[in-house]
């Protein structure tokens, strides 16, 4: 295992995350207690995501400290690809911007795709809960949700 990176996002709704993963064609594995990184090393986590584009390994959800009553999660993953062992440059990262400030060529925007879809699912769930009608559209790559009165 080389190293792990942690995102700073807040995920609190696992149902919304599961729905987001399903839409993106990846798998949320609730209750998976370890995720795989380079060399098939196992790392403890609370839940995991498999089949995530932009990484050869799994993504782990780690519960984070929070001041609210909700449990929040951060994402952890091994950003190195198989090519690293052969001295190939690292190109696969989940985040849009790499640590050196450059944008990724492979796997770009995957992290944002997940968080976009997660946010949409959270908002839709809230609208349903409140009994509000809503309409979802995609405009220029942006997800748009309009929530109306009953």
């Amino acid at each position: 295992m080389s190293h792990l990176e942690h995102s700073t996002v807040t995920i609190t709704d696992l149902k919304a995350l599961e729905a987001a993963c399903k839409t993106l064609g990846i798998t949320f594995v609730e209750g998976k207690k370890s995720f795989t990184s380079y060399g098939n090393a196992q790392h403890p986590c609370n839940h995991a995501i498999t089949g995530f584009p932009g990484t050869n390994w799994e993504v782990g959800l780690l519960s984070a400290d929070t001041n609210t009553n909700k449990i929040s999660y951060s994402l952890a993953y091994d950003p190195y690809s198989y090519g690293t062992n052969n001295g190939h440059p690292i190109t696969t990262k989940l985040c849009k911007q790499q640590a050196d400030g450059n944008y990724t060529k492979d796997g770009k925007h995957q992290y944002e795709h997940l968080m976009n879809q997660y946010s949409l699912e959270v908002l839709k769930a809230k609208a349903r809960l409140k009994g509000y009608q809503f309409q979802t559209t995609t405009v220029g790559g942006k997800l748009k949700l309009e929530v109306f009165a009953k």
Binding site: D13, L120, K144, E146
Partner: protein
């Protein structure tokens, strides 16, 4: 929370892992109550807030009444 009788809506635009919120048709601070329950559900940090002219309508009315 009620949207009232006027056509009111909240538009969420989601891009790059961030959510932009726009309340339409609200007067005064009602828009904040309407959007808060949604932004709270996102669990993130609200980075900024810009009040549109409609927000100040109720406040202006109140000042007029007192004058």
């Amino acid at each position: 929370m009620s949207f009232g009788t006027q056509k009111k809506s909240i538009v969420f635009t989601i891009e790059d892992g961030q959510v932009h919120v726009e309340a339409k048709g609200f007067v005064g601070s009602a828009c904040e109550a309407a959007t808060k329950e949604f932004t709270d559900a996102l669990g993130g940090t609200l980075s900024g807030k810009v009040k549109k002219p409609e927000y100040f309508k109720k406040a202006e009315h109140a000042l007029t009444q007192r004058a």
